[in-house]
């Protein structure tokens, strides 16, 4: 069974979001997602300074098996990307919630967090289990 972090929010498309107290949020993909994709070989993050929109494509991950889009869980400006992933994409496999983070967004509208359909850890587990049926 894959690991799910209770303090994070999730998208049905398997991204996680960790909201910080400074109005920014980190984005990555869930343990379940990395396991399903297999070994990652390329991670294409958005550029620092670019703007991403909740629910729209922000990047791509390529595994040995397939390419998958990464969707932005919230809207805002990309203030940092995980440059380490260029050399070591396997960090997403080894530590999806830590070293495998992908980019950091400065939220343009914190109220989005309430209005968007972000899943709690519990709801995400239920969704994953439903998929595995």
């Amino acid at each position: 069974m894959s690991e799910i972090r209770p303090e994070l929010k999730y998208l049905v498309s398997h991204e996680w979001l960790r909201v910080e107290s400074d109005g920014t949020a980190f984005v990555g993909i869930s343990d379940h997602a990395q396991e399903a994709m297999g070994d990652l070989v390329f991670v294409e993050t958005p550029e620092v300074g670019s703007t991403v929109t909740a629910g729209e494509e922000a990047g791509v991950v390529e595994s040995v098996k397939a390419a998958s889009d990464i969707y932005a869980p919230v809207s805002g400006e990309v203030v940092a990307i995980n440059e380490e992933l260029e050399e070591t994409p396997e960090a997403v496999n080894n530590d999806p919630y830590g070293d495998g983070w992908m980019f950091q967004i400065k939220l343009s509208d914190p109220a989005e967090l309430e209005s968007l359909e972000l899943l709690s850890a519990e709801d995400y587990v239920a969704k994953v289990e439903e998929e595995d049926q």
Binding site: G38, D39, V41, F42, E44, V60, V64, K65, A66, A67
Partner: protein, 361 residues
Amino acid sequence: MTNKTVLFDKHVEAGAKIVDFGGWDMPINYGSQIEEHNAVRQDAGVFDVSHMTVVDITGDDCQAYLQKLLANDVARLKEDGKALYSGMLKEDGGVIDDLIVYRMAGWYRVVVNCSTREKDLAWMVKQAEGFSVEVTERPEFAMVAVQGPNAREKVAEILGGEQAELVRGLKIFQGKESGDWFIARTGYTGEDGLEIVLPNEAAPAFWQQLLDAGVAACGLGARDTLRLEAGMNLYGSDMDESISPLAAGMGWTIAWEPEDRDFLGRQALEAQKAAGDLPKLVGLVLETRGVLRGHQKVVAEDGSEGEITSGTFSPTLGYSIALARVPKSTGDTAHVEIRGKLHAVKVVRPPFVRNGERVYK
């Protein structure tokens, strides 16, 4: 309802991720496909290939029958134990399957793909009409492939005695029987190694001995990246019944001589060869970021188009490679469309990797 090989419990025990492959529950990986791939390139790995179909051809006419059935010529097998790769073609030249045939003592053993099992057997039985042959499937056998630079030595140490000598003495593309085991120096990875056909009941213990000797359990994921680096075709992706072997990089497997050998598909192939307008199967290399995948569009420099038949990230090279069917006129460079953008690729002659080293130019 899916089939399970006799090693299924061993795979689950080892933490394999199981997928449906041609109606069989098979391990795709045991954790990391790339680590499994590297184990085969650098040391030794073992694959369960028991889902493949072993068919024995016996009877007085077995040679004549196979000379009709196959595009390659079993008469080229000059001694018992030698193996040959061949296509089995329809009359119109389309590839029914690709296979390995071993010459045994007065009979032949053929190994065909699992996803094509039923149609292959039906075709083989149908074509046997008029020949004094028996076509016998051997489901009582399991099959494992032990591959990598240290594979043969590790197997020799496990088996010991006469079998060890047999393993050490095998020539490339040669197989020998040892009791009810059949051990051949063949494979689908571009490395040295063995393919071993053994009784179902002996397989789990042998598998465990291999793991205990440090041989890595490898899944179908690594099998695919290894064969693609080695420039070997995958049936159903790189060719099928709608594709001529001449358009699938299989020209070298067609034995045109002797001219009076009337194998199935010969007339169609001769006409295709004379017309000379078939596309060709080439290798593609993308040295920048991105991964080539099956069905992506290839655009040649003159604007004509082809398609990737298999693509992957090459763990050995660190970038992406592919097999693609492209117009005959395609030169040394082309572009591939990945998510709407064109990427420049080199067009090369496969294989990409042999014995752990880059070999394409």
